[in-house]
Amino acid sequence: MKRTSWRDYEKEIADDHYYYARSCIRQNFFPGSETTFLRIMRDVLGKDIYDDPRHTSCTGIGYHTDIVPLDTTMAVVARQFALMTEAGYENMAISCITSFGLYTEILETWHEFPETEARARENLFKATGREFKKPANLAHTSDLVFHNREAIAAQAVRKLENAVTGEPLNVVEHIGCHYAKIFPKSGIGGSEFPYVLAGMVDEWGGRVVDYPERRHCCGFGFRNYLVQANRGFSIANSRKKLESMAPYRPDFMVANCPGCAMFLDKWQYAIAEMENVTYGADGRGIPVLTYEEMAGLVLGYDPWEMGMQMHQVDVEPLLARMGVAYDPSGKFLGRAGKYIGAPETAVVNSFTGDRIYRIKA
């Protein structure tokens, strides 16, 4: 990406000593990604990051589906801050975009309406007896990876390139809506052209695809997915993005939001099953990676160790293209090498028909 306007939205990111807040979705659907993140932070970059088993969900999903009232949410978030304060940290690294957005929103609300902060402090104290300091620095974990992208590149074993032709891989980056669309200043590059993922891709040798529906939501939309009757709308949004990016023949997508990574991946499966349409140039689905997985591949980590078998769209074709050596038989081995069983074949991974999404011009 040739744009440099992202520099107008420089964001301060703390260098070290983070309190780590995990993501509900990621722990369930991409547990390997968070592990990989910690591994990179600690082993590759030598940072201090505290992974606290006591912290809870931020209630973001409940909040955005109008189930959890704002006061409750504030109290829960206040508790996370209290845990951070108690653990002696003042920089918060948040794994989830929804949480990141919510924390940012709450801090802004407290700033604009101090009485709400007072009430949250009071509620927290009444309920738990805890007190807290507001974080000095609030960053999404993709911000941290972005911040350290050059250090990671220095230790990379491969680039985001086609191992045979040496051509850079076409990468579609997708930023979670709540990363910077609510508060542009909270994201690297603002809300129009967030640079957080594109910066990594640029640094690690890939080519960022700039396609028409780049800023469009993945379709998760909380209520739109959670109510079955609305799911058609959710999936239609993903399809809109997929149709828009397909002509660029992306090698993979990378997302920094738990929901986005999950839905861009899983809706491809659903669309293929329902309508027999796939969007990858090879007739299969387009793999969707988290930025940690992308970084892990660059650093030469084993894909199965990073949990990439959890993807709905198989990543093997991508691994082959990148020249990643991996053990095909190791894909479905669980703890202690125990075979956990392979899923049934899906249209999105075994496409043989002729209904690849018609690519115009």
Binding site: Q228, N230, R231, G232, A236, E273, M274, E275, K360
Partner: protein
């Protein structure tokens, strides 16, 4: 075609996608009857419409949609028209609106 029933269908986009809409028919309609393109969307036709008085038929909207390549349902809608010709009398652009109805029905209908 639905191999798997997930209990929902992919919603059809509400937006008009001029990249994807096949405008051939719209173009042909205009070529056959250039005044078809002269509409300034004043809505006089719809307001005076005898059929529109009794049902939801909206001539201006349907023919505009046709010009945008949104053909679905145009034939069915146009069939609500009684061809009475009031619209032709009020049209400030003098468009042969009845001719437009017949033309759309012919081009986009199944007869």
């Amino acid at each position: 075609m639905n191999a798997v029933n997930f209990g929902y269908m992919i919603s059809v986009a509400r937006g008009i996608d001029l990249d994807r809409n096949d405008l051939t028919s719209a173009r042909e309609l205009g070529d056959e009857m250039p005044e078809f393109r002269a509409c300034i969307a004043c809505g006089g036709c719809t307001a005076t419409c005898t059929a529109g008085n009794l049902t939801s038929f909206n001539f201006r909207m349907v023919q505009t949609l046709v010009r945008r390549g949104e053909y679905a349902g145009a034939y069915r809608e146009m069939n609500k028209c009684m061809l009475c010709g009031k619209c032709r009398l009020v049209c400030p652009r003098g468009i042969n609106t009845r001719g437009v109805v017949m033309l759309i029905k012919r081009k986009l209908g199944d007869y």
